[in-house]
């Protein structure tokens, strides 16, 4: 029996202007089809990727933020946001999208996927992951 690897996807860039955010999201969705323990971190300008009410018109890119809501369907429900990054940008948890999942082991109760972590806790998370992919 092979052990399930812990994958950590670190998202650090603004959602538009480059393809990093969109590419990361696609890799996560594709990877979720395999037996992996998938975790996502949003830090630095990456926190803007999951901000509510995005308008991508001026960037010439498609607003792909609705796709983050599908992560729960793909059993990706460990989403971490760095507290310091959020604060430095004048944002709070309320400014972020309400990403949720349905807990199969708890009668499909809807639960929140996003958790705030300090920079120190993020470091620990990286430490215990088998694979860290940074976008």
């Amino acid at each position: 029996m092979s052990e399930i690897k812990k994958f950590l996807y670190v998202n650090r860039k603004a959602p538009y202007g480059t393809v990093y955010a969109l590419e990361s999201l696609e890799v996560v969705l594709i990877g979720a089809a395999f037996d992996q323990d998938v975790r996502l971190i949003f830090m630095d300008d990456g926190v803007f990727q999951i901000k509510k009410g995005q308008n991508a018109e001026a960037s010439g890119m498609k607003n792909f933020s609705p796709t983050y809501n599908a992560l729960g369907d793909y059993d990706v429900n460990q989403i971490y946001v760095e507290k310091e990054s959020l604060e430095a940008r004048g944002l709070t948890l309320d400014d972020l999208m309400d990403l949720t999942y349905e807990d199969e082991d708890d009668d499909w109760a809807e639960k929140k996927s996003i958790r705030l972590l300090s920079a120190d806790e993020i470091r620990d998370l990286m430490e215990e992951s088998d694979v860290v992919l940074s976008f």
Partner: protein, 111 residues
């Protein structure tokens, strides 16, 4: 760019036969796309296609088959939310064929 003929007008498709522009889609095109897949559309097929289009509209992606199966079971009932039922409707892959017929891009996570 390749194209297909639907009632006398040309519709652009990609090299795998998926519609180039999802906004081109209508029910006549769906029927023509189904013919290329050798699928005869019934009410049950439309149920799945309509579901996929709604899913795409909400999330901007076509779901992987595992996600589709779960979501169909929730919306249309357990007897339909299994791969046996979906593969009977779309023998060459429910997500892939139903997306193509529904005018959507190839599902994300489809390999």
């Amino acid at each position: 760019m390749p194209s297909m003929d639907v009632n006398g007008s040309a519709v652009d498709v990609d090299e795998e036969g998926y519609l180039s522009d999802i906004n081109d889609w209508n029910k006549d095109i769906a029927v023509a796309l189904a013919e290329t897949e050798e699928v005869e559309l019934t009410e049950s097929h439309w149920e799945v296609i309509d579901f996929l289009r709604e899913y795409y509209d909400e999330y901007q992606i076509a779901p992987a088959v595992r996600v589709l199966t779960k979501a169909i079971g929730k919306k249309l009932g357990k007897d339909k939310g299994n791969s046996k039922y979906l593969y009977e409707l779309f023998p060459y892959g429910p997500a892939k064929q139903a997306c193509k017929i529904g005018g959507l891009p190839k599902p994300t996570g489809c390999i």
